[in-house]
């Protein structure tokens, strides 16, 4: 599909708003990095050269210690292997470790000390470890990946429901509209947090059930806008024109009304991402979110606030959260500005 000149102008305008544009780049990079986190942040090395064979352990099954002559069947302890390699520099074996050589689930214990460990370059815990000796940077990266995927999934659910119902309300009007208005009013007043707490005490929520549950209660906001937008577009003459050449309702909806309502959906996108991340973080903070060992910012925040003596835990989580939410908000601001109808009308 070609982009309309209006869309191109909006993109140009978005690009000219530097703060939002750079934030957009930054977020894209963060997402990209976190999607391939196994390469940068992992206790498995990126490349191992052993007896003239190359191994890429980042992805895939575990490689047992036997493979590298360590004499055990379980997964290779790559830090030990590194020791072995370093002690025999002449063997020609080497490994390229990940930038942060810790996995988010791994409890790392340094001899003679108890966790949490403060940030240190020497131990390569760049942001320190949490109370259980797990590397904070590693948990932040993996936690970010889960949070952003979670909020995108949540957003998809709520957009699909919200757009469908909103568009139908605007398009059909009458009784359907009236009934769903009341349903939305009721749903909006349901205390979602309590519901999730109750459900979480019965079943352990996982990524999908949690997103579905939140999604079922978070589509209402968009519906109002979509309804109004559909109502408005539906009475405009180009829709009447389509109707007069005999276009079906289906066609009018998808070819005429929806494309002209996109601006609202796009404008809400970043703010929905923010609210998704915030929702997951706060649920995790309260302990009703994703189950225990999952890397999560909320859980980190919880550890940090209950152990304020180890400032690096809370500080890392708070700073990371602030940076990400600020970036997304900047993007949202720029999008809103770029889509401002006062600047670019249909007639310009």
């Amino acid at each position: 599909m070609m982009f309309s000149p209006q869309a191109k102008r909006r993109w140009q305008r978005f690009k000219s708003l530097k703060r939002g544009y750079y934030s957009f780049y930054a977020i894209c990079i963060l997402i990209f990095v976190s999607l391939f986190a196994e390469i940068w942040v992992n206790n498995r090395p990126v490349i191992i050269h052993y007896n003239d064979t190359l191994y890429f352990p980042s992805y895939g099954d575990i490689i047992p210690g036997d493979t590298f002559g360590l004499g055990y069947q379980w997964e290779t302890n790559y830090r030990d292997l590194k020791q072995v390699f370093d002690n025999n520099p002449d063997s020609g074996n080497w490994m390229l470790e990940a930038l942060v050589p810790y996995n988010p689930f791994e409890n790392h214990f340094i001899e003679g000390e108890f966790p949490p460990y403060a940030p240190s370059i020497e131990h390569r815990h760049y942001l320190g470890t949490d109370m259980a000796g797990r590397d904070i940077l590693s948990r932040l990266v993996y936690g970010f990946r889960i949070a952003i995927l979670f909020s995108l999934f949540l957003l998809t659910i709520s957009y699909v429901i919200g757009i469908t119902i909103g568009a139908l309300m605007g398009f059909l009007g009458g009784g359907f509209d009236l009934i769903f208005q009341r349903i939305i009013e009721i749903l909006s007043n349901v205390p979602i947090l309590y519901i999730i707490m109750i459900v979480a005490s019965i079943i352990t929520p996982n990524f999908w059930t949690l997103a579905l549950m939140l999604g079922a209660f978070s589509w209402m906001g968009l519906t109002w806008y979509m309804r109004t937008e559909t109502y408005r577009e539906n009475t405009r003459e180009y829709v009447l024109a389509a109707r007069s050449i005999g276009a079906s309702n289906w066609r009018i909806m998808f070819k005429h009304i929806l494309p002209n309502s996109v601006s609202i959906l796009v404008t809400f996108f970043p703010f929905s991402v923010v609210s998704g991340i915030t929702a997951l973080t706060s649920l995790d903070y309260l302990g009703f979110g994703l189950p225990a060992p999952t890397p999560s910012w909320g859980e980190l925040l919880q550890q940090g606030t209950s152990n304020l003596d180890y400032q690096w835990i809370a500080a890392s989580a708070v700073i990371a959260l602030t940076i990400v939410l600020t970036l997304v908000t900047f993007i949202g601001e720029a999008i809103r500005e770029a889509f401002d109808p006062k600047k670019y009308s249909y007639f310009s």
């Binding site: 405009r236 009447l240 024109a241 050449i245 005999g246 005429h256």
Partner: protein, 336 residues
Amino acid sequence: MSQHNLLTVSGLSKFFPVKKHSLFGDKQYLRAVDNVDLYIKPGETLGIVGESGCGKSTLAKTIARLYASSAGEVHFHGANLTKLSQKALRSIRPKIQYVFQDPYESLNPRHTVGSILQEPFIIHTQLSLQEREAKVKALLDTVGLPEHAINKYPHEFSGGQRQRIGIARAIALEPDLLICDEPVSALDVSVQSQIINLLNELQKKMNLAILFIAHDLAVVKHISDRISVMYLGSIVESADSDELFKRPRHPYTQLLLEAIPNPDPNAKRSERRITGELPSPINPPQGCRFSTRCPMVEPRCHSTRPPLIVTDGQDHQVACHYHQQSFENWESPWDY
């Protein structure tokens, strides 16, 4: 009679419900179109004039069933449009097409001219993309637009050019009836004549019947075979174009004709004016709708509503109790 008519409208009404002032108040309706009869023969142009807010556009949209009617019938090609199912309606749509007033609003800003003009073919034919594009190019040629317009967007054109696009879309499927809802009132005067000439040309070429709506009598006279004058949702006078201009019988028509600016500085000007505002169509005046503004109003006008009656036999209908007196007193400000 109706055998020879392409379109016959009888008793057509469109009422819009109005918000009640109190919970127990009577349900009120805005009578936008009130009991309208008209007909169009194949290849003929019927002009409808009336001031803003008299229900011309609503009438047109109700005929095309862009609005559902409240009462009455619209017979077209042997089918009653007001009663057709959505599916049957969609299949008859190509034969009755609509040109909108505002060429800025009636074209989807997100579609190229090519895709706007292809849409009728996509919906109603099984043509391939190449065939459709060939059709679109032929259409653009017919309405006098360059071929490269195909990849442009509506906002890249002037008002007149956009109206040409709107007309091209309307004639794409070779309709029998074209409803033009003030197609030129949003355009410059110089462009107006081009569009009207284009419509005239198309009419000859395709044997189109046109329902032409305007508030400008001069424009309507130029294009119409017959003219109906509308006031407050009803037709007050209907006649052949020349007949209406030469021998108007309804005081409202006369006042409209007198109000046309005359370029001759020596021409005598009528002292009569239409005063006041159009009454509310929610509470229309009792009796004759025009009684509140009529210069020759009599007590009877306030109590009894005059029916639309045939006067001169030549298809000249008028709704006025005193049309005879009114006609005798009238002096044309024009030399025809």
